[in-house]
């Protein structure tokens, strides 16, 4: 098993830097509700910052990625047993809620704190 991770550990420094740059991480992203075509019924806020996760998942899933055991095993299966089993994907780990004020079709006005609207960190799973 040690043998399978050795190439990454001993990779040249420039290659190492490059893989770290593309590594799974959180990227900020803001979109307006006008762009989404929902501005006629969402009163506030005007902008939405969902963010997104992008990047490659490393073969060695370090602790800060908060990957579950399953992802670690799936990585090993991909590496050692069956390459048709995909590597874990870079996806959001923690979310924070977002308050939305909107008008309903019947004329009611609704304030609601919606869970899971904004990605705050990423994981490989």
């Amino acid at each position: 098993q040690i043998h399978s991770v050795e190439p990454e550990v001993t990779a040249p420094s420039w290659e190492h830097d490059e893989s770290e740059k593309n590594q799974c991480s959180l990227h900020p992203y803001t979109v307006s509700f006008r762009q989404l075509g929902w501005d006629h019924w969402i009163i506030a806020p005007h902008h939405y910052t969902p963010n997104y996760c992008k990047g490659t998942c490393p073969r060695v899933l370090h602790y800060s990625l908060n990957s579950p055991n399953h992802a670690i095993i799936q990585n090993l299966v991909n590496e050692l047993v069956n390459q048709s089993i995909p590597q874990p994907s870079c996806v959001p780990y923690k979310y924070v809620p977002m308050s939305i004020l909107l008008m309903e079709a019947n004329g009611s006005i609704l304030y609601k704190e919606h869970e899971g609207m904004v990605a705050q960190s990423c994981t490989c799973r």
Binding site: H40, W41, Y111, K112
Partner: protein
């Protein structure tokens, strides 16, 4: 253009019933569920909107992040306007409007934290000054209702508005009913000068923004949270786009 889902898709989803009718186009769904663009103006004006905007600003920042120190006490606040079927009658010097608020169905998943009615306690109609208050309408036994805490001046808005707690009334009489629930309130006004009663053209003067209802709610279980992650129109949109994408892919 609408296509039948591919055979592969149906085989992958054994619980999905086979469809014989075309899938409703996305735009048509949105037109049914979401408010139309021209609906915005009539509702997005006046004290109800002002109240909710102030509530929003106290509870969340400009990016929509809920404030740590928010005092709202619930995750959801629904402002309900009275329906248009207003009945009026005169009792002595009192002008009484009966306002109906449709509370809807399927509220089992929500816990009612608080309910208040916000109303104008002073009206100036046709140059006549009126003092007003609100009472829940109760058939036959008008003294038996319990309206919870009494009226209090509403600091959020102008001095002519008052907020009254009616949580107990709604919980005891309406909340656990399965059928369509209608909250009926009597909005009662009396001219400050009683001699003006007969001259007052009160039949035509009440606009719908003299009172509105506020329901402070919490989701009670996870399935409710799941169902309410996004407003229904947004869910429709996402579902529609997802099925469009899968159809494009299968093509």
């Amino acid at each position: 253009e609408v296509e039948q889902p591919s055979i592969t898709f149906l085989a992958d989803s054994p619980t999905l019933p086979p469809t014989t009718t075309p899938v409703m186009p996305l735009v048509e769904k949105l037109l049914e569920e979401a408010p139309r663009k021209e609906q915005r103006k009539p509702y997005l004006q006046g004290p109800p909107l002002q109240f909710m905007l102030e509530l929003y600003q106290r509870s969340a920042d400009s990016d929509g992040h809920p404030r740590e120190n928010r005092t709202i006490g619930a995750t959801m606040v629904r402002l309900v306007m009275p329906s248009t079927d207003v009945s009026r009658h005169l009792r002595g010097s009192w002008h009484i409007w009966t306002l109906n608020f449709l509370l809807g169905r399927n509220w089992v998943a929500y816990q009612l934290v608080r309910a208040t009615v916000v109303y104008r306690h002073q009206l100036y109609l046709a140059h006549i000054s009126l003092s007003c208050h609100v009472e829940p309408w109760v058939p036959k036994s008008p003294k038996n209702y319990s309206s919870g805490r009494g009226p209090s001046k509403l600091s959020l808005m102008s001095q002519t508005w008052t907020e009254m707690d009616i949580t107990q009334h709604i919980q005891q009489r309406l909340w656990n009913r399965k059928e369509q629930r209608v909250l009926r309130l009597c909005f009662m006004c009396q001219p400050q000068n009683i001699s003006e009663v007969l001259e007052f053209p009160w039949h035509d003067t009440l606009s719908m923004d003299v009172a509105f209802l506020l329901l402070y709610l919490n989701d009670t279980h996870k399935t409710a949270q799941k169902a309410e992650l996004l407003p229904s129109g947004l869910e429709e949109l996402l579902e529609g786009e997802s099925s469009l994408a899968s159809r494009r892919k299968s093509r």
